[in-house]
């Protein structure tokens, strides 16, 4: 299910230990159609982390999300049309009732310690969800070797 590219191995090689970590964030939908909530953020972690996969605990193909990494600053969603087109949640996160409740990222995403992901959700325009929890599965990277990995070091063959 999870696939480790050379890039991922190189990041992992800079840490002596890799710990499983699960971060669940309440979304807070109130059941209102087309509701655009204030962004929610992932919890700060006291170590570098590699985000591998996502899950949501509800089924709603028309609930949308836009994800931004706060540190490093990076917009995951490339669409920048004049009329913003957000991304269906089901393109990124697995759903509890699916055969694959965790949907792996094509390339895991690295965040330095104390870094966060910001997620902006929009509820469905026709069948709104109430509540909702988003969960990230990741590896916490501890005991770094020579300071660990960072984007400035990059991937080197």
């Amino acid at each position: 299910m999870f696939y480790f590219t050379k890039y991922v191995y190189q990041i992992l090689d800079r840490y002596r230990n890799h710990l499983e970590l699960v971060d669940s964030i309440p979304i807070g939908f109130t059941g209102t159609v087309s509701e655009r909530l204030a962004p929610v953020v992932t919890n700060e972690i006291d170590a570098d982390a590699l985000y591998f996969a996502a899950h949501v605990n509800f089924t709603n193909a028309n609930a949308m999300v836009r994800i931004v990494s706060i540190s490093p600053q990076y917009q995951w969603m490339a669409n920048n049309d004049a009329t913003p087109q957000d991304t269906p949640i089901s393109a990124i996160a697995g759903i509890s009732t699916q055969a694959m409740p965790l949907l792996p990222l094509i390339q895991p995403f690295f965040i330095k310690k104390q870094g966060r992901l910001q997620m902006s959700f929009t509820n469905s325009a026709t069948s709104p969800t109430t509540g909702g929890i988003w969960t990230w599965r990741m590896l916490k990277l501890v005991d770094p070797i020579n300071g660990g990995w960072d984007y400035s070091k990059g991937f080197n063959l």
Binding site: T59, W76, N79, A91, I92, G94, Q98, F109, Y151, F155
Partner: protein, 327 residues
């Protein structure tokens, strides 16, 4: 070609659409040239407004970095409108080279379900047969159409990929090495899809229709390929129609490479053994190993609808593979 030393396909060493995001050797070889690789998503709306036979064209914006596109996810229509994307058609064109992903034929596009996994189905992201390298500052053109009369409102396709930045030597690689040691030009492997409508074709007031009547038998062909194509899997859009089971076990098919008539299915096979569908674990049912189709060849599909009383309308088969020539 298979390299005996490592028992791996030279370049397309992966088939299938379910499970983890395995990278092909071609994808890994390209990514090896970049220091930073991060997730990338591009959601393209259909902009359809519920008008039958409507066509829309959307252009992606150019990006500052090179991109590898691995697969797609669709969120389109309903049972009644566009059959959840099975009757909404898409053509993708690389504006830099002018090469379209779907071969020119009667439909000139493929069902959206041949490009992407459908929202809450078992496989929400359908992998392309091979990653597509989108160079920086270039654009893709997306042509949406509903030639069989669907009337979808809204919906989107989300392309899932990896953004590549900080290339070695300051620029994208021109060539990469395959596992057998050969080098191929980056961008020379492009998605190739060929869609064929099954059954009798009619055309009424702009509305294209195909019908396989109960008990009917039909012979159809893909267009001949203009360069070598590595065929990976086959998708179809009619295991269900508007949420109703089309009894696919009663539809039989015999597939032949018209240039190599001695091969493939010796007799008719039920289509679930040869075609994948939106609702299946494998929306594109993979071949045992990718099949290399030579230039000038084409597929022959002999289909028979053995249902006693069930006609199947607008049944499409999309053969998916990788174009192996340069422009």
């Amino acid at each position: 070609m298979i390299s005996e030393a490592i028992c791996k396909l030279d370049s397309g060493n992966w088939v299938g659409s379910y499970g983890g995001p395995e990278w092909s050797p071609y994808a890994q070889a390209i990514a090896d040239h970049y220091a930073v690789q991060v997730p990338w998503y591009l959601t393209i709306p259909t902009t359809l407004t519920g008008v039958a036979l409507q066509r829309r064209t959307i252009l992606s914006v150019p990006y500052q970095h090179d991109i590898l596109i691995f697969g797609a996810h669709i969120n389109i229509g309903t049972d009644a409108a566009g059959d959840n994307g099975q009757l909404v058609f898409l053509q993708v064109t690389d504006l830099e080279s002018g090469v379209s992903w779907v071969t020119p034929n009667i439909i000139n596009s493929a069902p959206a379900t041949a490009f992407g996994g459908s929202r809450t189905e078992v496989t929400p992201i359908l992998k392309l047969p091979e990653v597509y390298f989108l160079p920086k500052y270039t654009r893709l053109k997306f042509d949406w159409s509903q030639p069989t009369g669907a009337n979808v409102t809204g919906g989107s396709i989300t392309w899932c990929g990896v953004q590549l930045s900080q290339p070695r030597d300051g620029k994208a690689p021109e060539f990469v090495a395959t596992p057998n040691g050969e080098t191929i030009r980056v961008g020379s492997r492009m998605p190739w899809l060929s869609t064929v409508g099954l059954g009798r074709r009619t055309f009424t007031a702009g509305d294209l229709a195909f019908q396989m009547v109960a008990g009917g038998r039909y012979l159809q062909y893909t267009p001949p390929v203009d360069c070598a194509v590595e065929i990976h899997d086959i998708h179809c859009n009619f295991f269900t129609r508007a949420g109703v089971d089309m009894l696919p076990n009663n539809v039989m098919v015999k597939i032949t490479d018209a240039g190599e008539r001695g091969i493939w299915t010796p007799d008719l096979a039920p289509i679930p053994s040869t075609f994948g569908s939106m609702t299946q674990v494998y929306p594109g049912l993979p071949f045992t190993k990718p099949y290399l189709m030579k230039p000038g060849h084409r597929f022959q599909l002999s289909v028979q609808n053995n249902n006693a009383a069930l006609a199947i309308n607008d049944a499409m088969v999309t053969i998916r593979g990788v174009r192996l020539c340069e422009y």
